[in-house]
Amino acid sequence: MSLTWHIVKKDLRALKWPLGFWVLVIVAKLGIGAMLLNADGTEGVNWFLKMDILARMLAGFEFVSFLLTAALIHGDPLVGTTAFWMTRPISGARLLRAKLCWLGLVFGLLPVLVTLPWWLGCGYGPHEIAWAAAETAAIHAAVVLLGLMWSPVVQGYGRFLMWTIVTLFAVPTLVGSIIQGLNHLLQSQGPSDPVMAARMTLGGGIAVAAILGAMIHQYLTLRTRRSITLLAGSAGLIVLVGVAWPWALNIDARVKTWLRQRAAGEWPAAAAPADLKFSSFRYAEVSGPGGRNGTAGKLRLDWDVEGLDIRRPVSGGTWAQLLQSYDGECSLRWPDGNVEPVQARARSGTGSRMDFIGPLPANLEQAQDLAAGHFTTQVDLMPAVAERFANEVPACTLTAHLRLMQFESVTPVSPTSGAYHATGSTSERIAHAEKTGEELEIVFIRRAASLGVDYLGGGVLAPPGPIIRYHLANKERRLVGMYQQIDHRETRIGTVGISWQTLAYRASNRPRAARPTLEAINALNDAELVAVTYREVARFSQEIRSDALQVRRVDPIPDHRP
């Protein structure tokens, strides 16, 4: 092992300058994150945007690891007969161990160690650090794998780059072209999403196995032609799988199930609170195919909940209890007995409405469809399914994954720069507050863990922590006026999500463009900023069935794009 470590140290010395640059890039990116978090709010949202772009560019530079990987391998070439190590007491197996150690240290451990202070500073707990570290290492591992694809079997950077680019371009293009051609020839709609997911997963698995296999083979045997044959054969197999693999492995469903279990976390498999009653759908609206969302149709499902506490704990505010749907599964059972899973986007509809807890603008205050307990779930339909609705009516089962939020407090907040609230990795800071006429403009800078694993299923399944909203209240603790979002930007640095939001508060419901009045200015001076907090009290899944949907067809939203 000492000799292996000796080679690792040699390679660290050989690449110390590029490595130093690489670490600097990571540190600079995290430095930008720290600057954003500590901004005083006067810089303006454009500054935030520029910093965001700079951070993204630096994050792009991190992928220099692709070239560093090739440099590492080419430092002790495996092709040709002139390499220094080949006539020294260094076996291929030892060299392979050394290179793998180096890669693990530099692209696995080093970025984690460099980023660790950032995570700790952002309030990450051990669990979040573990996930963030795994994500950081996984991203670099993917880049390193790309670097390992051709570097062990070709000489020089030129060939390495050329063959990598050719492979990355050729394989997907070939698969796509063949699938298109077959679809055209057979007049078919092509493979379903689950089958495509299975093909991509299998293809990815084959690629990883082939890259590692060819690398190990090359190190142990130095038989370049056979290693290249292994890579080329695997590329052919990937094309074959991409074109012809017929079975869905339910990978997407498995991932979702796992994510739900993860999201359930500290609220495992709870039943719905006894005082809540769920009723089946009232009706469904089907749109499409065609329109703005392409060929996919939309199914809108409406359902009701009784028993939710709809008292308003704060005058002018929303209900004592909020029900937030963070995910949903939907399946259609057709008259012929065929059961078809469809994608339910539960966060739109219920999620956005439930989030609305500010004082209602006048026109919405009268809108009765916001009454507690009425929910909408939107379901994406494949074109063939949408067309089938024209002739048949399926039964529908919706499993909604919900969390129940309970009003906790309303507390005054000093509308001054620096007011800060933090729970674990989530924090919220008033970076800047300024009164102008009848308006109080506040810049909020927020921070939250933004782990990639939460995005695997297409979005954060259940944002952690309480819901806190800031409002203006008068002396009677009645929420007054309205707020308007002036700007909002988000970025993600080192798995930490950072957002900049400017809200303009007014103590009256007058439009922004109107000239300030003395009355409005006085109302603002009399009002105070309060934080309304809801905490999570339950997380559960609820199945809602409808044996016969009342389907109404609506026109899809027209697509005016060229």
Partner: protein
């Protein structure tokens, strides 16, 4: 006992045959020169020995091990210096030695220091800033400091100026006095090799022409000069061992490749009864050139 044994080695690069049925033995303790013109197959033969190339046929044994199975423990006993070797140029001489040292259990720091001083190498200078001669000496140093049983030098003089060559050869000679090792040196630079080698083999077109001790080789080659007293042509056929035949008015010169004083004189008297015959010893370089010319003549005549 032989340090290296090649048995019926054939190596092809696609359709080109670089080595043909090569059988060769390098005796232990010898300084063995593998000679040949460019493209003769010297480097290919050495690469087969060092397991850098797999032979298409035949077996190579190095220090008793099949060359295709040479492992870490075998390479710890072998030193290899080649003009084509890619040294880690980003290292300083000191770093190169520091890097190599732990791989060799027999590394001798005292010898390293001695050679470093002897070769006059700047230890803190990066290899990429060294001259070609210095670079070869650095490679030689890193291959000598562990007292290898076998030192293989592949075209070590190539690209070196005369002074650097002299330094290098002196380095090898001085180093060889420090230990009992076998040296295999391939080169087309015969003059330098003559100072080093006690065994010589000649490769031509991938085939072995001969392999013998330098003493025997120098002993059996003579440049013969015959002053003719008449213009008569030589009587009878010329022996096959007479090479590089040159005739001018009243004088004939040729190279006898199987010189034995009495036998050669008798053969000359039979063919040139009235002539005066003189035999001159030849250098390795002259022998090499004569053989190369003779080879070309054979090719020409067979082509004709």
């Amino acid at each position: 006992m032989n340090a290296i044994e090649l048995t019926s080695i054939t190596h092809r690069y696609w359709r080109t045959e670089a080595l043909h049925d090569l059988t060769l033995a390098v005796p232990e303790g010898s300084v063995f020169a593998l000679l040949g013109a460019n493209g003769a197959g010297k480097t290919t033969a050495i690469k087969v020995m060092m397991n850098l190339l797999r032979p298409s046929a035949g077996v190579a044994r190095v220090l008793g091990t099949d060359s295709s199975r040479l492992g870490e423990s075998d390479f710890a006993r072998i030193g290899y210096v080649s003009e084509n070797q890619q040294l880690p140029l980003w290292m300083t001489v000191r770093q190169l030695l520091d890097y190599c040292r732990p791989f060799y259990p027999t590394w001798d720091p005292a010898l390293e220091g001695k050679l470093l001083a002897q070769f006059d190498l700047p230890s803190d200078r990066k290899l990429k800033h060294l001259s070609r001669g210095m670079l070869m000496k650095a490679a030689l140093l890193s291959s000598l400091a562990y007292r290898p049983q076998l030192l293989v030098l592949d075209e070590p003089f190539s690209g070196l100026d005369p002074l650097a060559r002299d330094d290098f050869v002196r380095g090898v000679l001085e180093a060889s006095e420090l230990g009992q090792w076998t040296v295999l040196v391939s080169s087309h630079d015969v003059e330098e090799v003559e100072r080093l080698a006690d065994h010589v083999a000649l490769l031509e077109g991938g085939r072995l022409k001969f392999s013998e001790t330098t003493e025997s080789l120098l002993g059996r080659f003579r440049r013969m000069e015959v002053d003719l007293n008449s213009t008569a042509a030589p009587a009878g056929d010329l022996p096959k061992s007479w090479l590089d035949w040159q005739a001018s008015a009243g004088r004939v010169a040729f190279v006898e490749s199987a010189y034995a004083t009495e036998r050669t004189e008798q053969a000359c008297r039979e063919r040139f009864p009235d002539a005066t015959v003189r035999a001159h010893p030849m250098s390795l370089r002259e022998i090499f050139i004569s053989l190369a010319r003779a080879g070309r003549e054979v090719v020409r005549s067979s082509a004709a």
